[in-house]
Symmetry: C2
Subunit: 300 residues, 2 copies
């Protein structure tokens, strides 16, 4: 079984993925796109991470495109993707764990005022704020896929008052009106692009905070900055941005009410992700059921 | 039953405590020390929070001193305390919950590099660091009282590799050598004062971090700063200090590897603490067993 590994990696990442994938599936023949001068026509699967546009053309035997990332919005934007070949997302328990850690850290920080205390430290200011209980904090999670459900379960276990929303479910504004913290874990699709706009922020109660761990394009940056500057929103924790790396002059960097993370909320772990890839490749070989398939129509 | 409320409170705190205590124990007659010109000789209990030295003298009927704080080191330092009167500490589930939240936030921040990312944000620097798994992080908890055990249980539940130490237990240096993060939750006693000194820090592996949520006097500040500056220690999270508020010129304020909190790791919550006080006052009245008594010899 010939498998193409095809990602926008630096050399160290490329080596880590190759080692992990070869260990997880030693019986496969792993091909590295830049190295392979001409891709053999009998490649049956492509394991991809932000592949260059057009990379997956001209592979007549291709029967699976397996993404190493959970989000496939960039992959699906490639109009040259072969039609009819199944696409699988990465759904990795280790990545879910990493995402729940980041969400929990952001919620703890907001609940207990730790971002405010960090600002005070810079000003050498000693000032205690009232302590809030976890069960008094209402957390709304946008997205009820594997990651959204894992985050909701973890936060509920810690005592927070958690609710969830999915796009095809209940109307959003009434839920927003009851939320102290909103955590965005939606897939980026034409329907969710720009969802966090001025109307969204206005529907939140005064003093609410926003945590975006999904995609930068979900957010209207100017509307978010306005809501923060007017004091309607208290704080934003942002891991993802319209352009990444976040450009040096962007207002988010130095904004006192914005926490910027460099897209690290949940990095894929090659060792655990390779096992997920291997399971799908094995299913492909054995004629078993492929897991975590993307619905191209829904776009996730 | 006459009860004296006697603490170094500001007006708002005083009002919050009086309301909470009167609601929890309406049948008691609550006296406020500054207001009561002459303290009646039939006061049977004193509910205290850093009372002025000598405040508890001349109370012949006194049968219980109930602290509103968990730490009684300052209370016990008052050599005028009436001999033979039982002293009870505050042991409040809501305070344990607050302490576990702060400990979990510090551990998550250290595990996932969030303090480093905050420094990077100030420099508008986009740089991703390798992601560490919770189960690869060894957390050592000093102190195995109510708070230490609650923190250990919560961190173990999140997947961390947790171990604990108590002063009369196993030797400390071998445990330090195996710790990525040390969390200090010891009582301050003559035996634990200054425990976190140069030898303590040297016994930790290079790159370890220290979280002090107990008392400032546990730590040799100069030794800690030297260990951080030499790069032997990675980071320190400090909630407590030799002098509080931390003086404006102190090196901790602006140190890039120190997180300063203004003694907010676990604020006592009047509503839940009042119930704990009421239970002990009721036991005193009914001749029941008093809870959470301090051993003056052990000093906690």
């Amino acid at each position: 079984m010939k498998v193409l590994l095809c990602g926008a990696f630096d050399a160290a990442e490329q080596a880590a993925w190759q080692t992990a994938l070869q260990q997880a599936m030693p019986q496969a023949q792993w091909l590295d796109l830049p190295a392979a001068q001409a891709v053999p026509v009998d490649v049956v699967a492509a394991v991809v991470a932000n592949p260059r546009r057009g990379s997956l053309q001209g592979l007549p035997a291709l029967r699976l495109i397996q993404s190493l990332w959970a989000g496939v919005d960039r992959l699906l934007a490639d109009t040259t993707l072969p039609v009819g070949v199944p696409i699988a997302r990465m759904v990795d328990p280790a990545m879910n764990a990493a995402m729940t850690e980041t969400a929990l850290w952001a919620v703890l920080s907001l609940q207990r005022g730790f971002y405010a205390y960090a600002r005070q430290q810079h000003a050498a200011q000693w000032l205690q704020h009232p302590q809030r209980r976890a069960d008094a904090l209402r957390v709304l999670i946008l997205g009820q896929g594997q990651i959204g459900r894992a985050v909701a379960a973890r936060l509920a276990q810690q005592g927070y008052a958690v609710s969830g929303w999915r796009r095809d479910g209940t109307p959003l504004p009434p839920l927003l009106a009851q939320a102290d913290i909103v955590i965005n874990l939606l897939p980026l699709t034409p329907q969710t692009r720009g969802l966090l706009d001025a109307a969204f922020f206005a529907a939140l109660p005064r003093g609410a905070s926003v945590v975006n761990l999904a995609r930068g394009a979900h957010v209207d940056d100017d509307a978010l900055l306005a809501a923060l500057d007017h004091g309607h929103l208290q704080h934003a924790v942002l891991d993802v941005f319209h352009a990444e790396p976040l450009p040096p002059g962007h207002a988010f960097w130095q904004h006192p009410s914005v926490t910027v993370l460099p897209h690290v909320a949940a990095q894929t772990d090659p060792s655990s992700a390779a096992a997920v890839v291997a399971a799908n490749l094995q299913a492909l070989q054995d004629g078993g059921a492929l897991q975590h398939l993307v619905d191209r129509q829904r776009a996730y």
